[in-house]
């Protein structure tokens, strides 16, 4: 354990940690908490946070409103630092030497008014999944680098496959009116120079490049994407792809293990690549993931910081990558050969620029900003004209921030 010596100074302290509640993450939290106690003498009570994100959000808000010391360390979503910042401890003075070992975009996301309110723990990022066998069969040497190439490849593959499989489709993504569509559409915007919704306090959504890519995406619906894609979330898209009914899919890394698993019809026949972009623009993926923060009202902030430093340390991240295929937040861990072998999608990810949602700028109003955005995009996908709609979306966002 890298910071054992510093942590042992707080021996005998009792910490409460609201951690992961989903899948193997909850199990690893218990193990890592026990290990930390063994090495440092600091007792850790690990409590799984509520499974639903919105319920966890509300639970934390209630603790903060009561200025409660009942919670020391907490697991928070990448879009929450802006809203929670006033209640979280500034970690910068405690770990100044380590900050540059994390991805700068994630550190920037967690920095609110020059205070580093959380350390990035594990990441998530949007990726393009493609069928290696179909690309080969229809004579394409590489997965699409631009959205136009994606359209060309998808159209040709669909034309060929439809005869044998009437429900076969070209491209599936998350088009339902929810947070996932904000992630998808932010990638479209950022990949063509259409801005990032809200930049330096200004609403920049109503611009020609953004309107053009959204109108282009509307053209996919019912043509290279199924008509029902405007109701799809992550698992809807994954089920279509995994059943062998789609040539391309946009999804998070979690889909990799499942699509490669025994229940999948495409195991061994698919690959991952960065999402397409316009020529000259960066290949981007929306950043997701979880952060670890220390509550401002904790009675043992120093010990709590040591727990956060331990959990986000390189050895723990390697362990979690191997055990649970969690995506590291430190470039050095992502380059570790053991991790690369366990997470084959890390290779293509090196080329991906991670874009963050405007959660830090919008703060407590982020929900409202994101909802205005994904509702507008969903309306475009369902047939509305982006050029006319985007100014209205911009006004809604401005009103939300007023």
């Amino acid at each position: 354990m890298p910071n054992a010596a510093q942590a042992q100074r707080y021996q005998g302290v009792q910490l409460t940690y609201y951690g992961d509640s989903v899948g193997i993450g909850a199990e690893l939290d218990q193990q890592l908490g026990a290990r930390f106690t063994q090495d440092t003498g600091i007792a850790v009570r690990v409590i799984p946070r509520p499974q639903s994100a919105s319920e966890a959000y509300a639970t934390y808000l209630r603790f903060f409103q009561a200025r409660s010391a009942a919670i020391d360390v907490l697991l928070i979503d990448i879009i929450w630092p802006g809203a929670f910042a006033p209640h979280l401890l500034d970690l910068r003075p405690f770990c100044a030497g380590e900050i540059d070992q994390f991805y700068p975009a994630l550190i920037a996301n967690n920095t609110v008014a020059d205070r580093l309110v959380a350390l990035p723990w594990f990441a998530d990022v949007g990726l393009l999944y493609y069928r290696v066998d179909l690309l080969e069969r229809y004579g394409f040497a590489a997965p699409p680098a631009t959205w136009e190439e994606l359209e060309v490849q998808a159209r040709r593959i669909v034309a060929g496959e439809r005869a044998a499989n009437p429900v076969f489709t070209g491209y599936v993504f998350q088009g339902n009116a929810y947070e996932g569509l904000t992630c998808n559409a932010l990638e479209w915007l950022a990949s063509v120079g259409g801005g990032r919704i809200l930049e330096r306090g200004r609403v920049t959504i109503a611009n020609p490049a953004a309107a053009a890519i959204l109108d282009q995406a509307r053209g996919w619906v019912g043509l290279i994407a199924p008509r029902g894609v405007t109701t799809y979330q992550e698992d809807d898209a994954r089920n279509v792809f995994q059943a062998g009914n789609a040539a391309f899919m946009r999804n998070w890394p979690y889909a990799y293990a499942l699509a490669a698993g025994p229940a999948s019809r495409v195991a061994g026949r698919f690959g991952v690549a960065p999402l397409p972009a316009a020529p000259g623009q960066p290949r981007v993926g929306t950043a997701g993931g979880q952060q670890l923060a220390v509550c401002q009202y904790s009675r043992a902030p120093e010990a709590a910081v040591e727990l956060v430093r331990y959990l986000t340390s390189a050895p723990v991240q390697v362990y979690r990558a191997l055990r649970g295929s969690f995506l590291p937040t430190r470039p050095a861990v992502a380059a570790d050969p053991r991790v690369l072998a366990a997470e084959p999608f890390l290779g293509p990810l090196q080329a991906v620029e991670r874009v963050t949602r405007p959660a830090r700028d919008a703060g407590a109003r982020y929900n409202q900003v994101s909802t205005a955005f994904f509702q507008g995009v969903n309306q475009v996908l369902n047939g509305a004209d982006a050029v006319q709609l985007l100014p209205r979306v911009a006004r809604r966002i401005e009103r939300a921030l007023a």
Partner: protein, 313 residues
């Protein structure tokens, strides 16, 4: 001889109260207020108080879990509503849904009520069976229908495309804006027609059989009997059914929320209101939305009561 005293007839004293004592009417009025006071207190607490509080909140910038105190802003929330295209759209969606479902449920419900009011074997069983859709919780029924309407593996597409061959290709019933409202209305009609039928059946059962006998003697056709006897005498039951259903349709939340979530082009007034208050914590603006919904529903109720005067002419 003693004087004979002629007894005076007793004069009723009703018109001449003793000085200072309240009249019988006044005493009865006081008793009435006393007896009504518990219910009035309850109404005050559960209806009037929240209403007044909502009006007050709608004039402020109140937000949940906000460090800033609420400020009084007059009517500016209402002014913002005037320019809120999503709100207008949600009113349009809700009114369309109400018109389609209430008329559909009324026609079908009346038909079913007339049918099960007739004498036939197994009538009790049919009356019970007809209530099954109404007995399923809406959220579960809506989820079930959502799967049935699915564009890839839904049973509706399977039936219409593969089995019957009526349609050339699968239709994304819920995704496509041209079919979305119709199919969600269909779910509501399926679910709520039994309720309307039940209310109308109760009304049918109190119409005396002699009226129909007399009409038959006079040679009235079945249609004449329906128009001249059944419908006029059913008016109170029709009013109750329509008011109930219209109010429910205007407040609709669950079936839309399960099928469409926060999708904007299918958002009802109630979903927009919930989103504003719960997801955005914007209590002031949400209260203004609530007041407008309250007004719209109020107008509908007054319209019904005036149009379908229940009192005998």
């Amino acid at each position: 001889m003693s004087e004979v005293v002629v007894p005076r007839p007793r004069v009723p004293t009703a018109g001449a109260p003793r000085a200072g004592a309240p009249s019988l009417a006044a005493r009865q009025a006081r008793l009435a207020w006393l007896l009504l006071s518990p219910s009035l207190t309850v109404v005050l607490l559960v209806a009037i108080f929240p209403l007044v509080q909502t009006v007050v909140l709608s004039l402020t910038t109140a937000r949940l879990a906000s460090p800033e105190p609420a400020r009084f802003v007059g009517l500016s929330n209402y002014a913002a509503l005037l320019g809120d295209y999503l709100f207008w759209q949600s009113i349009g969606v809700t009114l369309q849904f109400a018109v389609i479902t209430v008329s559909g449920e009324f026609v079908l419900g009346l038909f079913i009520a007339l049918l099960v009011n007739a004498q036939f074997r197994g009538r009790g069983l049919v009356r019970a069976a007809m209530l099954v859709p109404w007995a399923i919780p809406t959220v579960i029924a809506a989820q079930m229908w959502k799967w049935m309407y699915h564009d890839v593996y839904g049973v509706v597409n399977d039936l219409l495309v593969a089995t019957l061959g009526v349609l050339p290709a699968n239709v994304a019933w819920l995704a496509d804006p041209t079919t979305a409202l119709a199919v969600v209305a269909l779910v509501d009609i399926w679910k709520t027609t039994p309720f309307v039928a039940l209310l109308l059946l109760a009304g049918l059962q109190v119409i005396p059989e002699e009226l129909y006998e007399a009409a038959r003697v006079d040679g009235a056709s079945a249609l004449q009997q329906l128009v001249q006897i059944t419908l006029p005498l059913l008016r109170p039951a029709i009013l109750v059914a329509l008011v109930f259903r219209t109010l429910d349709a205007l407040r609709v939340f669950d079936v839309f929320y399960v099928m469409f979530g926060e999708r904007p082009d299918t958002m009802t007034m109630a979903i927009y209101n919930q989103e504003t208050i719960v997801a955005f914590a914007d209590v002031g603006y949400g209260a203004a939305i609530s007041m407008v919904i309250f007004l719209i529903i109020g107008i509908c109720v007054v319209a019904y009561v005036t149009l379908l005067r229940v009192e005998a002419p």
